[in-house]
Symmetry: C2
Subunit: 117 residues, 2 copies
């Protein structure tokens, strides 16, 4: 069985909220499992969000008023959709902006050259 090359877990730490907020800012509403698959697809399996990390984070975002939820029945199964609040939209923008700035700082600090392609 093939194990895809993932980033070391410490690298991904601290980026989970940013990723979730960005996806929600683009998709109006998403459910948890959908988020994990989207991230997996978009990153060519390099970033795989685990459920143990995802669900507690989503619950925290709800508690903080960043997202609201809506439970939808799909046949006999349940989906919980998450949607950004106005406050959440601001948070999303801020988080992504901060991360972009952070990337530039790290590129300078680590002397990383931009790549062609």
């Amino acid at each position: 069985m093939y194990i895809c090359p993932m980033y070391s877990s410490e690298l991904i730490k601290g980026t989970l909220k940013t990723i979730i907020l960005k996806l929600l800012s683009e998709n109006k509403e998403m459910y948890g499992y959908e988020i994990t698959q989207k991230v997996k697809d978009l990153t060519d399996n390099k970033i795989q969000i685990t459920e143990g990390a995802l669900y507690p984070t989503l619950h925290a975002l709800e508690n903080d008023g960043i997202v609201t939820t809506e439970i939808v029945n799909i046949g006999k199964r349940v989906r919980k959709y998450y949607k950004l609040t106005p406050k959440g939209k601001n948070s999303a923008t801020e988080k992504v902006t901060e991360f972009a700035d952070f990337i530039n700082t790290m590129k300078f600090l680590l002397d990383i050259k931009p790549q062609l392609g």
Copy 2:
């Protein structure tokens, strides 16, 4: 008193080892306090490594054979210099390469455009 704008602490998580290894790969040997100041200077105060994070990390690097240490007396004070081992040089290269790749993935995922300037 002016408080400089730092990145949110979660953003910096997981990057400490990479930063340390990169600096050591460029400077042959450095001591702990020097590392904190260098990072502060190079990032315009945006990244400030705390001692409580730095020293345990340096000790872990030593235990893992990534660095060796040399204690030097400066007057009546003591400095502990850290230097990469051959294994550590490989680790430094790997960590920086991995981070560069990670940055590209995140830029794509977060749809971050390259900036002019």
